[in-house]
Amino acid sequence: MASTIQNDLFDSLRLELRRGCLILAVLAQLRAEHYGYTLRKALADEGLAIEESTLYPLLRRLETQGLLTSEWREEEKRNKRFYRLSAEGDAILAQLLAEWNGINESLHKILKNEKDKKER
């Protein structure tokens, strides 16, 4: 019972942690053009698996926010919707990456300090 609660808590916190990171990853990956399925594969190949039912609506939302542009184009005899980072998305991505790097550095410092304390 306690283990189930702990797992649920972990899942919930993990989801929260991943949410922002996934947006960052999607924006970064869309510096090159992709349609939904190939984007998901590309992210998975880089070790960042993401559910289809999460990714496809996310693409729509980011496009509505002006961070992505899209166009329908035929590829391999089938119409597909291709997404790419917009100019606004590019600027936001740069800001988010700076923020991400700052958080990452701080976290590493905190973890390093903890590790040093334990070793003393």
Partner: protein, 331 residues
Amino acid sequence: MDLLERYLQAVGQYLPAKGKDDTLAELRANLLAEMENREEELGRSLNEAEVAAVLEHHGRPVMVAARYLPQHFLIGPGLFPLYWFTLLKSFPLLLLAYAVAQAANFIFGVGTSVGAAIGHLPYVAFIFWAVMTLGFAIFEYAQGKYFAELKWSKEWNPRDLPDVAQQKGPSFASRVADLIVSMLMILWLLSVPTHPYLVLGPGGSLRGLPFGLSPEWQIFYWQIIGLLALMLPLKIAALFRGATKWRRGLELATQAIGILILVVMVQARTYFAPSHPGEGMPNLANLASVNYSVNLGFKIALAVTVMKFLWDLWRTVVRTRAGQKGFVTVF
């Protein structure tokens, strides 16, 4: 591919007409690409079970469609703290207003029983909650559409904060005094049968007084004595129980006994009766009026005490959860 079309149709049922075809076309292209990729891996066409597995993994149509829709809130995260705070702060005021209204009904003789008034309270509380929620939901819907969205100003002055509240429980001295008063009350009641003037006043010791204590005293007198005696060990235990949690429990139990005493008094109805019923009494109507007034007084006291008990009980539950301390009993 019949299964895919059925799936897309099911998803489409939950999407708004605007943009539906576009969303479904994109979804179809992505799902087909995934299926083709799977076929390439297997080197053959997918059978129906494998198509079903892909769709099952993609998710229930209603859930998939929901993710394409904008998020809707009845009361959004920006407004919810204000809604919750308003509910918490105004609920005691509702209880007070209800108690005053019911007491007024009793006084003017249009009310029903105390039990019916208490039984009606959940309905009143539900209506109150529903109206408040509806009001905030309408505000949530309208803000940003018909007027500017409510935003908390970042500028505020910490010096405007109220002083730290004193949240101490009753002191040891006041608990001792409370115990002494309870003991004196029992002694006083025990003395009433031999010294009726303690209830009837100085005239009670005179022979030939036209009225006296009613025969119903014989029934409720010992019930009250028993309940008051039951309170004593609880009050003594509360003196020596240092732990706030225990003391709160004992104080609540004491309050509950106090309510039982008032219930007994309310049920009595006739407190004074003519001393010589056969001879008649010129002011019998006045005596009935006195009995009615005393009963009404006990009813009001019961209503107030029940409200106070529920309030203390609720605060105890909240504070026990929050790990805070302190409240004061009334009985």
